[in-house]
Symmetry: C2
Subunit: 189 residues, 2 copies
């Protein structure tokens, strides 16, 4: 018997991303976001939803670009801090001692210290209610060599990403390997 808990965004799992953007004056800003996901394979696109009240919302609308920076667990405190205040009143790069790097592909900064970076140009924005969804085309992925596997691709046990628990408003790490996709299911029938 399932219990009804009402219409809420109680979704497992949600990512923990840092969205990088420039403001009108060219100051780099970062914010933490958990409302988003991949939305298309070709062109490769990512969606992230932000409230209009955020500083980043206006930055992306003006610059038509943003980065998605994936922090490792080592940066969980910084990640939380970046989600607690607005770039209008604080300099989050300064406070966290993280380093902004200007993307050469899009008009947005990325975070030098984070292991995995997606450079995105704004393709579309959709007004959905409290949140506006930004769809960005992923122009390039940049990764620290230390998080790449033998195939040259970033993998979870090396990136050590953070996931967000909507129910307890907490951060968790990624866990153990379960199995290969398109393989473990062959045993079902």
């Amino acid at each position: 018997m399932k219990k009804s808990i009402g219409p809420m965004t109680m979704v497992c799992t949600t990512p923990v991303w840092i969205v990088g953007s420039y403001d009108q004056a060219g100051k780099p800003n970062i914010m933490t976001a958990a409302w988003g996901g991949v939305c298309c394979s070709e062109p490769p696109c990512i969606a992230v939803s932000l409230r209009k009240a955020t500083y980043t919302y206006h930055n992306i609308m003006e610059r038509k670009a943003f980065t998605i920076n994936i922090p490792s667990e080592d940066f969980s405190r910084e990640t939380d801090y970046i989600g607690m205040g607005s770039g209008r009143t604080i300099d989050k790069f300064h406070d966290t001692r993280l380093t902004p790097v200007q993307s050469k592909l899009v008009d947005a900064p990325y975070v030098q210290e984070f292991p995995l970076i997606l450079e995105c140009r704004l393709l579309q924005s959709f007004e959905l209610g409290l949140h506006t969804q930004f769809v960005g085309e992923i122009m390039d992925v940049k990764a620290d060599e230390s998080v790449l596997d033998d195939d040259g691709l970033p993998v979870i046990p090396k990136v050590r990403p953070i996931i967000f628990d909507t129910g307890s408003q907490s951060y968790y790490g990624a866990g153990d390997f379960i199995g290969k996709a398109f393989l473990i299911g062959t045993k079902v029938r």
Copy 2:
């Protein structure tokens, strides 16, 4: 020095969801999806992107409804199987011995055995390229009592959701507690 690996959907982390829908004849179908996320808090909405080639795409377009079913790790084999074939040619509920339950709120079935269910009515669909993004309003969340914490909300260590590693095309579990959001960041400055 970061290495450029090109424009790809190499995103950490992506969820593992089972999308439930009815076909024209009323047969319940399920498919596995990892391209999606929360997209709005008010109204509470979830986005999931599917290729037009899928059976589920046509089901959702016709029924204007779907469910998002979050499997626990215990169902990783079934989850993989559900992502390997089309409901056009196989009966995935039958093959996996999972039980379809008709939602009373939306015109879609959910999976009895999975711990966390979101019943969604289609609000909008966006053609983005290879994938179409469906935005569903979450009409209700239903959860097994066993996955609820003391506040009555589902939490990661009890749901034991699966995450998908795009780099290695593998499934991982959720890991250890890192810290409370809007709290651990206070120590940064």
